[in-house]
Amino acid sequence: MKKHIHTPNGFKEEDYTTEEVAQAATDKTEIEKIIADQKTLDDKKASDKSAATTKLKALGLTDDEISALTGS
């Protein structure tokens, strides 16, 4: 893994240190968990929206009316 370092003393391109490689592995695990959590929330929102739309249609609303109501 490579990195760029910009300082007033100059520019350098270097390999990651052992510590930075370990940190990168930790970072990858963390972001994968965050993305998975976000997907769970997004999927639930989509599921809730679908269920709500079905119920609104059962009440007699058209797709356009539901869209106007939900803003999507």
Partner: protein, 275 residues
Amino acid sequence: MSEIRVTDIKGEDGSAAVNFSKGINISSGVCTATNFSGGGANLTALNAGNVSSGTLPTTRGGTGLTSLGAAGKALKVNSSANGLEYGDAGGMVKLYEYSSTGGSAVNSFTVNGYFDDSKYMHYRAIVSDVYTAANGNANQPSMRLNVSNSPVTSSSYVWGFDEAYASGHHNRGNGTGGRNSSITQLQGTWACRGNTYELQNFDIFFFNPTTTGLGAKFIKWTGHCHQHGDDGNRYTMASVATGALVTNSALTGFQIYSADGSNFTYKISLYGILK
């Protein structure tokens, strides 16, 4: 009318200048002398290229200066308001600029050591044309802030943004349960890579990064990127975001990295806003 032809005219004592008490008209030719004295009120067609000494003052439309300032400096009124000088113009000053576009791709870059509390209060970093050539990893950038010249990796960051794309919105952030070890997402989960038009751009503003004594260092940013997905769908997104590092310490810089291991090229411009 008559004509006098001589080779030398002198005063009556043979050494003094000749007096022309009623003036003299030279209708053609050149009047040449080693020096001229007296008022120049009626001189016309003066050639500025022949001026070889002295300084034109501001009271006569000049600068009062005898030399040019350094590259990029502006001509401005000095702090005593009694003359002009070359220096930094008000507003934003470019502190650093770099482009790796077309060059080697990296997993991260750090910009450190440019914050100068004696001159600037806030800063602006424009990270543009972030580009990952290879398909595979997504290249969703994260960010850390530097204290004492190193990125802080403790769980001390809060962040959140609202992002518009196509007909939808994403709300992302560290949530309410705790802090993250980074500003984990600058643009969410868009996989901008492969095509040279799938670029990411971020306009990042640093609020008082060198202030000490208060408990957090805030940034705000807007994110702008385009994804041409593997499924053929094209999305363009814009986000409005804020983040902070909970710390009393002054910041010395920042790091942007790709947590999923993507390599990317980028451009960075850093500006300081003068106090």
